[in-house]
């Protein structure tokens, strides 16, 4: 039963990887066709996501699960915004544009802004110079926090230079090492999926 999906995965993986290295115009035309197909798959994925969202929240409302009124708001918003978008469009000045500017945008910004308060409180309670490593981390964080903002430049003309060094030398070395490790890991995982060794994406047996 699973040979079909495994074969599709194997062929897709090997053919698309091979096309990357074949500059012939026929190969590149085929590559463009495949990209077109993938766009259609993405569109279906969006539709599938919406259906899944609907099913999940509708079940919560039916069974009166904890927090079901929120599900009602979610489904109401989904219906209203989708309906208005199809009816009046989504450009600025349309009802969807106004909902976006007056509801979505402030709510999104507010949620992210709360991080500043949580981080400040967490830093006060948890950022302790308990060991030499923690002290080094603490001092580096303080130098970075002050040196990367305008006030640091007023306090000392050396601070920006120190922060630049921290970013350009230790940070760059660590990030490069991580990037190489992640790259090798990604290649290894991709090979396992293409060759059918890793099959968790097929779901439960």
């Amino acid at each position: 039963m699973r040979r079909g999906p495994l074969l599709v995965t194997f062929l897709s993986g090997t053919v698309i990887a091979a096309l990357f290295f074949i500059p012939h115009h026929k190969a590149q035309e085929f590559n463009s066709t495949l990209l077109g197909w993938t766009l259609v798959v993405y569109a279906f994925a969006l539709a599938l996501g919406s259906l899944s969202l609907w099913e999940n929240h509708a079940r919560k409302i039916r069974t009166r699960s904890e927090g079901w009124p929120y599900s009602l708001v979610t489904l109401g918003a989904l219906l209203i915004v989708t309906g208005l978008g199809i009816w009046k469009g989504v450009a600025e000045g349309t009802p969807v544009g106004r909902i976006y500017n007056s509801v979505n945008s402030p709510l999104g910004s507010t949620m992210f802004s709360l991080l500043a308060f949580v981080i400040a409180s967490a830093a006060f309670r948890a950022f302790r110079a308990r060991s030499p490593e923690a002290t080094l981390l603490l001092l580096t964080a303080i130098v970075m926090m002050i040196g990367r903002v305008s006030i640091g430049e007023l306090m000392s003309d050396k601070l920006p230079g120190i922060t630049e060094w921290l970013l350009d030398v230790p940070n760059l070395a660590a990030k490069r090492a991580i990037a190489i490790g992640v790259g090798l890991g990604a290649v290894s995982t991709a090979l396992k999926i293409i060759l059918g060794i890793e099959r968790s994406y097929l779901g439960r047996s």
């Binding site: 590149q28 450009a91 945008s105 992210f112 500043a116 309670r125 302790r128 926090m145 903002v149 305008s150």
Partner: protein, 282 residues
């Protein structure tokens, strides 16, 4: 010591109030702190500044309202710079909730610099699928965006005559708060060799230093500080520079809180009695 224990048990609402004041007061009463320009932002500015008039830049604004405070000032500053240089901009987004923000940035910058839609810039809108869209633009822009964000066929837009892939674009600018940057670097730059600059939130900027050092990106604008630096370079006092006063003050408050917390802990228990970094819930 009693004072130290009291300090350690400080109500977090006091911390929240301090942070709120640190944000609100400088926004209401700006101090206009100086902003020094870093070499990375200077390099991004130079990449745009070196473009000849009439060249086309692809600007992808891949962010949503949660990170608009950092990235919208960047978008507006780069757009204004392009319009001043008579560089044409094809703008787009890979995020459905980024459509409104992209349009807002374009409207603001075009109003400030008197740029005209479809002549000086085009809004391609949103398309789903990071890798596919980025790879697709390298093959055939019109296959990915047959019409612009307002439904106008690309073939009838004067600005895009003869522009159909990265080959006809002088620069790709990606302003992002997500892994979209990785795909732009891997595909637009890595595969199609499009010259590229990147703007990101401050928290993720350090992830992209290796690409800067390997010249895969020509410049890097990080966070509100980066936006403020870019605004300074184009001599504009926008939301980036306005926000730097608040960011400076909040950073100072957080650093003071950390120092006070450590001193209080030492006074109450000694260094070895404290909890380690990350050991206490906020």
């Amino acid at each position: 010591m009693v004072w130290a224990r009291r300090l350690l048990a400080l109500d977090r609402r006091i911390i929240f109030a301090l942070i709120a004041l640190g944000v609100i007061v400088p926004l209401l009463l700006p101090i206009n702190l100086p902003v020094a320009v870093s070499p990375r932002v200077r390099a991004a500015f130079d990449a745009v500044d070196a473009l000849p008039a009439g060249s086309v830049v692809l600007l992808s604004m891949d962010y949503e309202p949660d990170t608009m405070a950092e990235l919208t000032p960047m978008s507006v500053a780069i757009l204004r710079h392009c319009f001043r240089k008579h560089v044409k901009v094809a703008a787009m987004t890979l995020y459905p909730a980024g459509v409104g923000l992209g349009e807002q940035a374009l409207n603001q910058a075009s109003r400030d610099e008197r740029a005209v839609r479809n002549t000086d810039y085009v809004w391609l809108g949103y398309k789903s699928g990071f890798q596919v869209v980025i790879l697709g633009i390298g093959e055939n822009l019109r296959a990915i965006f047959p019409v612009d964000g307002y439904g106008t066929p690309l073939d009838s837009i004067p600005m895009l005559r003869g522009v159909n892939s990265y080959r006809q674009m002088s620069l790709v600018v990606n302003l992002t708060a997500s892994s979209a940057a990785d795909y732009w670097i891997q595909f637009a730059q890595g595969r199609y060799h499009a010259p590229m600059i990147l703007g990101s939130t401050a928290v993720m900027a350090t992830d992209y230093y290796p690409y800067l050092s390997s010249r895969q990106i020509l410049g890097l604008i990080g966070g509100m500080k980066g936006a403020a630096e870019y605004e300074r370079l184009i001599d504009v006092f926008g939301n980036g520079r306005r926000g730097m006063d608040a960011q400076s003050l909040v950073h100072v408050i957080v650093v003071l809180l950390v120092i006070v917390g450590n001193v209080a802990l030492f006074a109450s228990r000694g260094w070895k009695g404290g909890r380690g970094v990350g050991g206490v819930a906020p």
